[in-house]
Subunit: 341 residues, 2 copies
DNA sequence: GGTTAGCACTCAACAGAAGAGAGTGCTAAC
DNA sequence: GTTAGCACTCTCTTCTGTTGAGTGCTAACC
C-alpha cells in the first residue's frame, strides 16, 4: 500500500480537524466539512488503509479516527508548512524586547511569557551555564569602610556582583592592586576552568592581603557556584489546563510537577541542539512520563554558548504555529544577544 | 442562644473533621469518631442551634453540616492554637536559608518554595519596593574602552548594576568625578524622591560630560523603573490541585490566573500589615473572586521597609499549621535581613 | 477496477429509574 | 435535659434502555 495524494489529503484533513476539535474524525463529517469530492464510503476505505499503515488510530470500533503519533510525524515531516507570525505579533515581540533593556533575566522571562501567550502552550527557555563563557574582567569597588563589591564580567557581557566585608585598613588603591593580580591570573580562562586549586594557589601567593583575597575568592567561588548550572524558565503551565487531554487531574498534576523540575527539562532537551526547529512527538521524548506531550524547540547560539527555547503542548498540537513562533523568537533572541554584546 | 462549652467542642470537632475530609460531618459519625459522651441526637440538637447561630451550614437537607465562614472565623479567633514547626522542619529551613547566601532573590524564592512544600498551600512573598529605601552610594566602574558599569547601593545593602556605553575618550578619573557629583546630589535622598526633574537639573549642570551623564542617568532611571514596583513571588500553585474544592477546572483556571497576576496579590494584601499573623477567610477577602480562598499572612519589617509573606489555600484550611509556619518563616526572614545588612 | 449507496452492527454517551446509604427533624419516653 | 425510634429527604451509584455517530461489508454502478 502506498501513500498517494488522496491518502495524504485525507490524513491532512484528519490531523487538522483533530487538532482543532480534539474529537475523533468520522468519514461523513469530514467529507462535509472539507468539501471533498469523494463519498464518505470511499473515505472510509482510505481510512482503513491509513489505519493499516499505522497513520491513524481508532479509540473504539464505532468512533472516528484520530492520527497516531506516526501520523503526526508524517504530517510534520511531509505536509506541514510552518506558519509565520502575524505583523502584529512580531511588532508586539519587538516592542517588548526593546522596552525591556532591563535585566537579561527580565528580557528572557518576558520572552517566555510572550511565547506562551501567543501560542497558548507552555514555553521554556534554558539559559546556558556561565562556566562555558569566558572570563573577561574583575573589579573591586570600595563601598563605605569595611565593605566592597566584587564585580565580575564575562565575555558575554554578563555582569555579576557580590558584597564582601574587608578589613577597614585596606585602601582603595590596594583593592585595585589585588583586582589587577586576579585579573592577570584569570584572564581569558573559561569560567569553568577556574578550579578551586587555582584559587588555592593564589591564596598562597599573596599572603599580605590575605583577608581581602580570602573574601574576594570566596565571593567569586559563590558566584560561580550560584550560576554554574543552566537556568531554566518555564512559563504558561496553566495553558495545559485548557487541553481536553489533561482533564484528568492526576495526570495533570503529574505533568505539571514534572515540568516544574528544572532537572527534567534539562535532561529531556537534547544537549546538542541545532539552530533548526526540532520536534519531538509523544513517545519520541526520551522519558516515558512525557509520552502525551510534544516539544517544539530550537537552539540559540552566541559566542559559542548554547541556549534552548521551546514549547510544550499536547501531541495534538498546532505544530505549524509552534514552529513559526519559535523561529521568530529565536531570531529576535539572537538579535538581542548581538546588541547586548 | 449562647455558645457554651459543649457547643464549642462540637463546632471544633466539625471544623477539624471537615478540614481533614472535605466532607460534611454527620452527627452519628462524629460522636463515634471523637468518642463524645453524648448521643447523636443531642449533637443534632446542638448542631441545629449552631446552624441557627450561623456557625454551621447544610449543603442540603440530608447531608451533614459544614462550618460556615463565620464558623471558621470563630474557630480561628477563639479556639485555635497555632502549631509550631517540628524540629526537623526548622532545621531544614535554617539549613536552606544558610546555604543560600547567594542572591537575595534566590533566598526569597527558596523560602517561598519551602513554605508551599511544608504546608501544601500556595505561598507568596511580596518584596518591598526599592524606592522607599534610602540611596547610599553610587559608583561608576570602567570596563573595557567605551563601556562602564553603574553600581547603585541602597541603605538596605541592595546593590544594583547596569552596563552603559560611554565615549571612548572618557578617562577613569573623569568617571570618578562624575560619580562624586552624583553622590553629592543624591546623598541620603529616598530613592523615590529622585524625581525626573532632579535628573534634568543635573543634566544641565554638567554640560561638558553630557554624554556620560546622559547614559548614567538613563541607567539610574531604568534601575529605578525596573525595581520601583514591589516584586511578587508565588510558589506552589499546583498545591491547589490537591484540594477537592478546586476540582472544577474552570474555577481552578480562574483562580490560578488570578494568583499569577502580581497586581491582584498586591492589591488584596492590606497595605499596612502588622507583624502579627493575620487571617482573611473567604469573603473577608477584598475581592469577590477570592471568596473560596483564605489567606494567612504577616509583614516583615526591616529598616522601615515592609514586606509581606503569606499562604493561600481553601477556606477549609489548616489554619493552625499555616499560622505556625508563617510565624517561623517570618522570624527567619527577619534574621536573614539583619545579617544581610 | 475504482467508487458509491445501502444496511446491519457497534459502542459511547446520555437520561431516567430504582435502590442503597447517610443523615436529619420530630416525637415521645426516660 | 437527654435519648431512642422512626419517617422522611436527598445524594450517589447502579442499571437499563435509547440515541446517534460511525464503521465495515456487500452489491450495484460507471
Amino acid at each position: 500500500m502506498t501513500m498517494d495524494d488522496r491518502k495524504q489529503k485525507i490524513l491532512q484533513s484528519i490531523v487538522l480537524d483533530y487538532v482543532e476539535t480534539a474529537e475523533p474524525v468520522g468519514s461523513r463529517a469530514m467529507v462535509k466539512k472539507h468539501g471533498l469530492r469523494i463519498s464518505a464510503a470511499t473515505v472510509r476505505n482510505e481510512m482503513a488503509d491509513l489505519e493499516d499503515m499505522g497513520y491513524l488510530e481508532q479509540p473504539h470500533t464505532s468512533a472516528g479516527r484520530i492520527p497516531s503519533q506516526k501520523g503526526f510525524r508524517y504530517f510534520v515531516d511531509c505536509m506541514m508548512e510552518s506558519q509565520e507570525l502575524s505583523e502584529q505579533e512580531i511588532d508586539l515581540l519587538y516592542q517588548m524586547a526593546r522596552n525591556n533593556v532591563k535585566d537579561w533575566d527580565e528580557v528572557i522571562s518576558g520572552i517566555a511569557q510572550f511565547l506562551s501567550q501567543i501560542t497558548h502552550y507552555t514555553s521554556f527557555i534554558i539559559m546556558p551555564a556561565v562556566h562555558v563563557s569566558q572570563f573577561r574582567f574583575l573589579q573591586l569597588v570600595p563601598l563605605e569602610k569595611g565593605r566592597a563589591v566584587v564585580l565580575l564580567v564575562t565575555d558575554m557581557g554578563l555582569i555579576m556582583h557580590r558584597k564582601i566585608e574587608i578589613p577597614e585598613s585596606i585602601t582603595p588603591e590596594e583593592l585595585t592592586t589585588i583586582a589587577e593580580v586576579l585579573n592577570r591570573t584569570f584572564s581569558a580562562k573559561k569560567m569553568g576552568e577556574i578550579t578551586r586549586s587555582d584559587l588555592q594557589t593564589i591564596r598562597n601567593d599573596l599572603n599580605q592581603r590575605k583577608k581581602v583575597l580570602e573574601v574576594t575568592l570566596n565571593a567569586i567561588d559563590s558566584l560561580l557556584e550560584s550560576s554554574s548550572g543552566e537556568r531554566v524558565v518555564v512559563s504558561g503551565l496553566i495553558n495545559l489546563l485548557r487541553e481536553p487531554e489533561f482533564r484528568d487531574l492526576d495526570k495533570l498534576k503529574r505533568i505539571i510537577t514534572l515540568l516544574e523540575e528544572d532537572v527534567v527539562l534539562r535532561s529531556v532537551v537534547p544537549n546538542e541542539v541545532s539552530e533548526q526547529v526540532d520536534i519531538l512527538i509523544g513517545n519520541e521524548n526520551p522519558i516515558q512520563e512525557m509520552k502525551d506531550l510534544s516539544m517544539v524547540f530550537t537552539g540559540y547560539k552566541s559566542f559559542g554558548v548554547l541556549g534552548k527555547i521551546g514549547l510544550i503542548g499536547p501531541v495534538r498540537m498546532e505544530y505549524w504555529k509552534a514552529t513559526g513562533t519559535i523561529e521568530a523568537v529565536r531570531s529576535i533572541v539572537q538579535e538581542i544577544i548581538q546588541k547586548y554584546y
